[in-house]
Symmetry: C4
Subunit: 255 residues, 4 copies
């Protein structure tokens, strides 16, 4: 196999499609949103991208049949007048610096072949503490892209995220701009400790408003509720542990 191998699974023409990227990352927010779109809409798998940068691995499905590790592009013709979507999902990023560049270039080649002229890279920003209000941060390749995002309550903060945007999401903007592609990164604030469907819903809300499509968010809300129950139980356990520990501490330091 070459360094990159793009499989044409199906041909489909889309009108003015935008690329939505949701690979694994902080809080799995991009991945949750991208997979939600693929599941809720009438989507069709159009391309698989195999890469020597991915782990040397096949997954085994429920019938015992294997699939070579790959990133996948699904085409979605949205109802209404909204832009069509080309959605990029997968289980892996690259394993080296150079590999991220090779892989993102391949993804941009696929986007080019569908005449994509705007890419949305989705991700999360870790805050280090439990998030109360689910703000969505933005970054763009061109300041002209900001007004419609600001109208959808996306925040732009000076020099944030401080460490820049890394991985495929960052390079979709960086290498995309080098090719003349408009690109936007939408980052949901999240604690950084857990998969965060609630932050994913906040990012999805922005996408719906900006791109003008509507999608059922019920299953994402269900997952958010399940996650909140998990968080609640963890908090309960922690506070019990602290109570058990306290008397001991008192004995040691005060008694």
């Amino acid at each position: 196999m070459d360094e990159i191998d793009i499989e044409h699974v199906a041909e489909r023409s889309l009108s003015d499609p935008v690329l939505i990227e949701g690979l694994p990352g902080v809080g799995h927010i991009g991945k949750l949103v991208a997979e939600h779109l693929v599941e809720e809409f009438d989507s069709e798998l159009v391309r698989r991208v195999y890469a020597a940068e991915f782990p040397p691995q096949v997954t085994v499905d429920d019938a015992g049949v294997t699939d070579l590790t790959a990133a996948a592009f699904h085409a979605i013709e949205t109802p209404d007048d909204a832009a069509d979507l080309l959605v990029l999902t997968g289980d892996h990023q690259a394993s080296t610096n150079a590999g991220h560049y090779t892989l993102t270039s391949a993804f941009l080649d696929v986007a080019d072949s569908f005449d994509v002229d705007h890419a949305y890279a989705l991700g999360g920003v870790p805050t280090g503490e439990l998030v109360e209000e689910y703000t969505v941060l933005g970054a763009v390749t061109d300041a002209d892209l900001k007004p419609p995002l600001e109208a959808a309550d996306v925040e732009f903060r000076s020099d944030e995220p401080a460490g820049g945007i890394v991985g495929v999401s960052g390079l979709l903007l960086g290498l995309g701009e080098r090719r003349g592609l408009d690109a936007t990164c939408l980052m949901g604030e999240t604690s950084g400790y857990l998969v965060d469907p609630k932050s994913a819903k906040a990012v999805l809300d922005v996408l719906q408003e900006v791109l003008g499509f509507e999608v059922d968010v019920g299953s994402l809300e269900d997952r958010a509720e399940e996650m909140e129950e998990v968080v609640g139980k963890i908090q309960e356990m922690q506070s019990q542990q602290q109570q058990q520990v306290l008397p001991d501490d008192e004995l040691r330091y005060i008694g």
Copy 2:
């Protein structure tokens, strides 16, 4: 040397051969089976594959003569009406992600040159505890391949192994399928802590039944017995240690 260097040691034509891969891995099960076939049958070394991904190393034989690290293909013309075998053995996998892809592609090139149309990748599945019943798990590139395997008591479990199949074995299925090759992975259940000839014998039994050849398994059974003695001694030592430790623990916690 190029990234890959394939040495033609001998030419031999095989009728409808299947590829049997047994490189090092969990419990060395694949390696045990593949080397057993090479030893028991009238086999001939036909190809060596050198790779810059292998350790920069020569081994020294019993006469002080060196051999460059390589993977080896042996040709076996089975008696009876069974399919001929092309058996891949070696001491190393690749050392990087990309290297696994390069190496497996080279192995598939060799298989292609012998008109192989079905590959069997052999390995082990770690269970984390001593195995009583030696089940063989299967995974295939195509669901149509399952019936004869199921008839030989190979089990197909939904989404197992959970972490997928990694290394050359995984890619023989993944990259093999991309080339139109049928491929099957047979994985013997094993504790994962020790070389496991008994699990290897279970995998070999499946191969014999599915491919229709017969081979003496005496030496494999001998090794299995030796291994059981080793395991027995380890268990004995552990139980003695626990008895020695117990009184101490009692003194510390109860006394």
Copy 3:
């Protein structure tokens, strides 16, 4: 993207320019000097060098607009009769051995395209203790280059720095010489623990004397003063901590 991608941001012809390299390193001395020149002079960004060896990353500016990680070349036409300057700055070195060679070769290609015939690689030498007198050490590709540097108080010490000169600075000399380029490394002595604007000023003083330009060093002196206040506070805190610790130690060990 290829391994290296050189963006022509502007064309500008320079007369007998010298290359000044200031990438991150010990005490950030080279970086401080190079960025100071870019800020104080009327400089123009002429080239950006993108590299797959750099982190897969975009930075976000104060308006929320992204920039792909790159090294930058600025052109400076110095007033007076001094040589024009081509200044190389950036936030990263390469991430692998081979990458340093690829990256430095690309930098030398850019220098060649501007007819640079002398390169100055700027850096720091860690002394392990606070520096009182800010000596500048030198190393050259050709002994004939030493007299004017020695006249500017640059010290040449036998076999120093002991570990050689590593990274892009070292290769600018090593690979530069292979191309027939004269190259000089100027290394300010510094503790190695902190960003050191005072050591940077010492290096800048040498550059001014050797190349015959004059530049306002006010902002560098301001940063040096700020840094000295920081160091003063750290020293004060350390001496307080030692005093607080002492009585305790006495109680524990003597009382």
Copy 4:
């Protein structure tokens, strides 16, 4: 720079030369022998090999002049009727598996260009304890090469060294054989903890006998004596420490 860059420093024709390789390794034995030959004989630097696999580094000589990291080939016309020598020395091996293959291939290219038909790779075998008798172990690409070595007291032990021969030395045999070159590895037994000039002298003695040249070994014997003094002092310090520790131990365990 390309992956490999071979500099032709001088042209020199040698009659039936053998390659002697002495890069850094266990006990620095190969390096000591190779550098001794370069210093004692009337040698001439003929080739430098630069490689992107080497550290990105220049060394600084006693005049403050830099040299790019490289491996060096020196040509030696031996007096007497002995074979001429092409001696490979340097400060580094490669930094990756694949790099060792690339580098060794380049070294073999240089050897080919001098019509070398026999290579001697020199190294050490760690024994883990102080060595009393300095045996030299051998390994060869062809059993026919053994008789003259055995006549010079080189020992060939079945399957030793157990871990094979790694690095450039190993590949000189492995890749050399692939090109039809005879190659011999001579390994001095050494503790593995220290630079070992005495073991180096044992290897040099074999070389002299096998190749038929004579060289002054005075400086190597001087270094061996210095090293023995160092070892003596270390042993003295260790025995003193043990005496100081003993009373304490007695108090703790027996008292």
